[in-house]
């Protein structure tokens, strides 16, 4: 029983990896500019040849991320099971929030507080759905404001220039929210909490150990077994060298996130920018 169960397709893993790379580049270049008054910000910017270079990389990376998001929207539309539509949106494999997720949230909270038995998650838990859709609304907010700020002179031909005051703050707060959420909550839930520590490679490997899934997604595994689909989804775990690679790359990225979080917090009082 040491098999893995397939959980993500190569396309989905590629989307996630592309998101990691662009998100991290945008974080480093964005924080470099936000913190350019501080020595830390200048060090970050110097990696790109100064603030002008950092901003240029930020702009280009932002466009790449938006293009990727556009492709993902098309992919999402393509992924919908149109024959069963609209029922397919409410299937147990769907990422759409359902009444069941609300119940799961309160059951899970009850379990945390020791009041009830925990929920039996199906394919996606409520926090997995939340993290997924948070990228959608987050990208729409930073994407629209980011396009407005891409070329302020051009933008102000189409709308009053003072909208850029608003756009810059909205862009900044949403970006800080996204970074803080990823570098604390997302890392914690997926990698640091006792049941997952020290590292979960699911998004790199595409599959997860069946024993772990029986604990975290019991209703899904049970459903696969009754439908007789479990055996088709079984795959062997990745060979050790690959797993070492996943761990190395994963921890390099986690380390970068924590570095940005810690130094960002440590330097925040040095900023003249105040809410």
């Amino acid at each position: 029983m040491t098999d893995n169960v397939k959980r993500f397709t190569p396309t989905q893993m590629l989307f996630h990896f592309g998101l990691i790379i662009t998100f991290m580049l945008l974080s480093v270049t964005g924080l470099a500019w936000m913190y350019i008054e501080t020595a830390w910000g200048q060090v970050l910017a110097s990696l790109f040849g100064g603030y002008a270079g950092a901003l240029e990389v930020h702009r280009i990376t932002g466009l790449i991320l938006l293009a990727g998001f556009g492709i993902h929207v098309l992919y999402t539309i393509w992924s919908i099971d149109w024959k069963q539509f609209p029922d397919s949106l409410m299937s147990r494999d769907s990422m759409v929030f359902q009444w069941r997720d609300v119940k799961d949230f309160f059951l899970h909270l009850g379990w945390i507080l020791g009041l009830s038995k925990g929920p039996e998650f199906d394919r996606w838990s409520w926090w997995e759905k939340f993290d997924y859709w948070a990228v959608w609304w987050g990208l729409i907010i930073v994407g629209v404001t980011g396009l407005m700020l891409y070329d302020p002179v051009l933008t102000s031909d189409y709308m009053p220039g003072w909208l850029l005051n608003v756009a810059l703050w909205v862009h900044r707060i949403e970006a800080v929210l996204a970074m803080a959420h990823i570098f604390t909550i997302h890392f914690f839930i997926e990698h640091f909490r006792p049941r997952c520590f020290p590292f979960s490679a699911t998004m790199f490997e595409g599959s997860k150990a069946i024993d772990h899934l029986r604990q975290e997604h019991p209703a899904w595994i049970a459903r696969l077994e009754t439908e007789g689909r479990l055996d088709r989804l079984r795959v062997p775990p990745a060979p050790v060298p690959l797993r070492i690679l996943y761990f190395g790359v994963g921890y390099a990225l986690i380390g970068l996130g924590l570095f940005l979080l810690i130094f960002g917090l440590a330097n925040v009082m040095l900023l003249t920018l105040q809410l």
Binding site: W33, M159, V170, H181, F188, Q215
Partner: protein, 220 residues
């Protein structure tokens, strides 16, 4: 260079879609096509119907924007004088920010190292509303902004350099969209963390207790 030009063209297209006001109307829709054609001294978008909105009034008020923009705050009488500091005691030996505390920081000074007089000009410093001031909205874009921002328009010049504190109640009057948009984002971000931080902290404790007591399934 070519690709940068292309990106600008694409962005102009995208912005037209996001368009709130401005050159949405096509030239063909103008009954006087002759008047609408660019003379070459103006950019195409300046000759489109509605473009004059940028030049109307002080260009600070919300006008077509239901007053949600900046410019509804109080206006100092000295901002209309040719020498805004006439009669200020000890003026010659003081620094600008010793009086103008609220204007001490802006992104222009903290990030761009722009100094006060680069925009407010030399002595005597005219009030920003004085008719001949370089900062008067009728010429600010050309005389001040365009020194660095090539192609700056009157609309561009309505960007508020000395931003009010976005969360302070006074800003709700001065620049209401700024106030409400930033508050909305703060509540969104604050709400996410107010829920998740205590949630995951307790979650970690619960899992740790479960592991230490040797339960096989995390949700028993």
């Amino acid at each position: 260079m070519q690709s940068k030009h292309l990106i600008r063209r694409v962005l102009a297209g995208v912005l037209s879609c996001l368009l709130l006001h401005g050159p949405a109307t096509s030239v063909a829709a103008n009954p006087n096509a002759y008047e609408a054609a660019s003379s070459g001294y103006f950019r195409d978008q300046d000759t489109l119907p509605g473009a004059y909105i940028q030049y109307r009034g002080s260009s600070e008020g919300g006008g077509a924007w239901w007053g949600i923009g900046p410019g509804s705050g109080s206006v100092k009488r000295s901002s209309f004088s040719a020498d805004a500091h006439l009669g200020v005691a000890g003026y010659g030996i003081r620094s600008c920010v010793s009086c103008h505390q609220a204007q001490r920081y802006s992104l222009h000074s903290s990030r761009g190292n722009v100094t006060c007089i680069q925009c407010h000009r030399g002595q005597p410093i005219a009030g920003i509303h004085h008719y001949y001031s370089a900062l008067n909205p009728i010429r600010k874009h050309a005389y001040v902004c365009a020194k660095c921002h090539e192609g700056a328009s009157p609309s561009f010049a309505t960007y508020v350099i000395h931003e009010p504190s976005p969360l302070s109640l006074a800003t709700a009057q001065e620049f209401s969209l700024f106030y409400y948009a930033v508050w909305l984002m703060v509540i969104l971000a604050g709400g996410v963390f107010a829920i998740f931080i205590p949630y995951v902290s307790l979650w970690a404790l619960r899992e740790l207790i479960g592991l230490l007591s040797g339960r096989k399934y995390s949700h028993d």
